[in-house]
Structure formats: structure tokens, C-alpha cells
């Protein structure tokens, strides 16, 4: 009996010790090292035919509420499709993280690039270049119709100082740098269309690089000349009633030929002065914006002001590249208008009028020329000289 009892107890103990149910009492494997996935212990237990509690994966089905937010790195995009993603990138409506450092690095696609390129290569070159050719043609026709404007009765033979050396220096600093800027700007804008077919790409590359260097750096001389001439001449260029009389008489150039009265600068010269000052200031601002890319955005703010005044709807949320594109197009348009004005100014100051170039050549103009074109100024100078003053 005792032997039977001992046998039953021994069998029971052996059964209990070898029963897989004991495995459930063994502590769970540490799964932090695998991120919750199965461990080596799990694999070994399975090989030993031991039961493995796989609830660690059977119940790990994910919870949408645990997803990282859209704004987090690698965050889910929720119900946003690929095409919508790309559309957001295209319209710069995303806030991307990028390893690229520097201005405008967070703009992945700039949608306005091609319209800008087509505008620059098409209408800007076509209409801008056409306007320059038109003003030249107009002046040639004017020259043959009107002829050179001569000094009535011929020169007096005596001269009067028209401009001091510092005035002429400021004028030629402005004029010389403007001509250099105009030529190098035209090479930059039109070279690809007109010069590469003639010079070839290699020669044009050298010319384009040189033009770019000169354009970027001689711009400072232009700005200095602009400031100098503004300071020296602004007081003489305030519009007054005489200007209206001068304009009605066509400046004595068109019509009767009678020279209307004028002080140091007549209405025509004042128009040139303010054209150069206003457009020169504007072209300088857009030039600085181009010279220091992405550092001086100004079109969004400008459009905002215009919209508030005129009620227009110009875009005020511009990508950095769009700012540069607007600056580039504006720079070209303003420069073309200035070139047209200056070509006419060069004409009337040289071949178009006898005795005019001397004013900026050596500063001394014929007294009769001065009396015919700037009679009130001559009277002022003579009055001052009579009192021991100077012009």
C-alpha cells in the first residue's frame, strides 16, 4: 500500500515537474531590447517545444491614437494623398525640415520659375529691345526733320561757366557708370539670344562673366553719382510756373523756334533729372536686392502698401525666389525706361544741339547759347558777378 502510494506521489511530482503549464509561471522575457518583438528566449523555448506566450505580438496591432502628429518628424499625413502633398510643396504651403542651410532652403519647389523665365526671355527682351530701337529711330527721324538746333545768330565767342568741376564729375560718374551698367545689363539679358549665335558659347561665357562682374561692382559708382547729382541739383529742379510755359512752347525746339525763358534747368532737363532720380533710386533698390540674394526682399511689402492704397490684389505672400524674380523683372523694365530717357538726353546734349556738350565737356558754354536756353540763369549769374559773387 505504501509502495503504491509512493508510486502515485512520485508519478504526480514527475508529471508536475515536466508539465508545460509550468512555463506560464516563468517570468516574461525582457523584450525592451527588441522593442517588444520576440527575443532569443522566445525562439529557444519554441525550439524546445515549450509554450510561448505570443500575446506580445498577437495583441500588438497598433493604435491610431498613438501615431505621431503631422507636425512631428516622420509624422503621419493622415488623410492627405500624395498628389495633395506635392501640391502643398508646389505652393510652398509646407514647413519642411531640411539639412540644407542658407537662404530659401526650405522652398522645395518654386512654381513661378518658368513664368518668370518666359517673361524675361520673351516680352521683356522683345518690348524692351524694341523700345530702345524705336527711340533711336525716332531721334534719327527727328534729326533729319528738325536738324541740329543751332545758336541763333551764331556763338558770341565769350563763355560763361555752366557747371563746376565737381558737378561735371558727379554727372560723368553717373553717366559713365550708367552706360557701363546699360551695356553689361543688355549683354546679361540678351546675350543668350543674340550673342551666343554670333560669338559662340565659349567667347560669350567670358564676356558674360566679365559683364556680370562689372555690372555688380560699377553699380556702387552709379549710386554714388546718383546721390552726388541729387544733392547738387535738386534745389534747381523744383518745378515752377516757368516750366509750364517752357513745355507749352515746346522748349523752343518744336514749333515756332522761340526759346522760352528758363533758369539753370529748363522743364525738359527737370523731366530728365526726376526721371533719373526716381527710376535710378528704384533700379538701385532692385539692384541691391539682386546683388544680395534673399537678403533684401521688398516686393511683398511694396505690394501690401499698393493694395492698401489702390485696393488692388497683388500677391503679398511671396517665396524668396519670387521676390528675386520680381526684382529681376522690375530691374529690367525700369532700366529700359531709363535707357530710353538717357538716349534722348545724350542726343540733345551732343549732336542734337550746338553748344550743349560744352556744358559738361569743359563746363564753359557760349554766352549766346546760355542766353537763348537759360536766360534767367544768365541774368542771375551776371547779377551775382556784379556783386562779386560766383555762379
Amino acid at each position: 500500500m505504501n509502495k503504491k502510494l509512493l508510486g502515485v506521489v512520485g508519478l504526480l511530482l514527475a508529471t508536475l515537474m515536466l508539465n508545460p503549464v509550468w512555463a506560464q509561471d516563468i517570468p516574461e522575457p525582457e523584450r525592451s531590447a527588441t522593442g517588444g518583438a520576440q527575443t532569443l528566449e522566445d525562439i529557444l523555448r519554441r525550439q524546445k517545444q515549450l509554450e510561448v506566450d505570443d500575446s506580445f505580438r498577437s495583441q500588438n496591432l497598433g493604435n491610431p491614437e498613438n501615431a505621431p502628429p503631422i507636425s512631428a518628424p516622420l509624422g503621419t499625413r493622415g488623410g492627405v494623398s500624395d498628389s495633395e502633398n506635392w501640391r502643398a510643396i508646389r505652393y510652398n504651403e509646407i514647413d519642411p525640415s531640411t539639412q540644407v542651410r542658407g537662404p530659401a532652403a526650405d522652398v522645395l519647389i518654386q512654381d513661378g520659375g518658368m513664368p518668370w523665365y518666359k517673361l524675361r526671355e520673351g516680352p521683356v527682351i522683345t518690348y524692351g529691345g524694341g523700345a530702345l530701337l524705336a527711340i533711336i529711330a525716332l531721334l534719327v527721324v527727328f534729326y533729319f526733320v528738325r536738324g541740329r538746333i543751332m545758336i541763333d545768330g551764331g556763338p558770341a565767342g565769350t563763355t560763361i561757366e555752366r557747371f563746376k568741376a565737381i558737378e561735371r564729375f558727379g554727372h560723368w560718374l553717373l553717366a559713365g557708370s550708367f552706360i557701363a551698367l546699360g551695356l553689361t545689363g543688355l549683354i546679361t539679358l540678351m546675350g543668350r539670344s543674340f550673342l551666343i549665335p554670333v560669338l559662340g558659347p565659349d567667347a560669350f561665357a567670358t564676356l558674360a562673366a566679365g559683364s556680370k562682374w562689372l555690372h555688380n561692382n560699377v553699380a556702387w559708382a552709379f549710386m554714388l553719382g546718383l546721390v552726388m547729382t541729387f544733392v547738387m541739383w535738386v534745389s534747381h529742379n523744383i518745378p515752377n510756373k516757368l516750366d509750364w510755359q517752357w513745355l507749352k512752347a515746346g522748349g523752343g525746339i518744336i514749333g515756332s523756334g522761340h526759346h522760352p525763358s528758363a533758369k539753370k534747368f529748363n522743364a525738359g532737363q527737370k523731366i530728365v533729372f526726376w526721371t533719373v532720380m526716381i527710376l535710378g533710386f528704384s533700379v538701385s533698390l532692385s539692384g541691391l536686392s539682386l546683388l544680395f540674394p534673399f537678403q533684401m526682399p521688398m516686393f511683398a511689402d511694396t505690394f501690401g502698401v499698393i493694395n492698401s492704397i489702390l485696393g488692388t490684389s497683388f500677391p503679398t505672400d511671396l517665396a524668396p525666389h519670387e521676390e528675386m524674380q520680381y526684382a529681376n523683372i522690375w530691374h529690367s523694365i525700369v532700366a529700359f525706361i531709363m535707357m530710353m530717357a538717357i538716349i534722348a538726353h545724350i542726343y540733345i546734349g551732343s549732336v542734337g544741339m550746338e553748344g550743349a556738350f560744352d556744358a559738361m565737356g569743359n563746363g564753359q558754354v557760349d554766352l549766346e547759347w546760355a542766353r537763348q536756353h537759360h536766360d534767367l540763369w544768365v541774368a542771375e549769374v551776371e547779377a551775382k558777378q556784379g556783386k562779386g559773387g560766383s555762379s
Binding site: 558674360a208 556702387w220 569743359n362
Partner: protein, 41 residues
Amino acid sequence: MKVMISAFVAALVIAFAAPPVLNQFGWSSAEQTSTESVRLD
């Protein structure tokens, strides 16, 4: 004419002086651009 020539020379002097002067103030436009990036096509 001397004044005209001297003004032209001054413009060139300013052009050559501008890059190093701007660099002194950390205002280099050259850092933002590349002289080798002229497209020819």
C-alpha cells in the same frame, strides 16, 4: 574733358574697390553668387 575721364576712372576704381571693402563688413555679394554659373544652352 579731364573731369569726364577722371570720373570714368573713378567709376572703375570704385568697381575694383567695392568687393574687398564689402568683404571687410561681411557684405560679400560674391558669396551669394557664382561666377562659374553662366548657363550657355
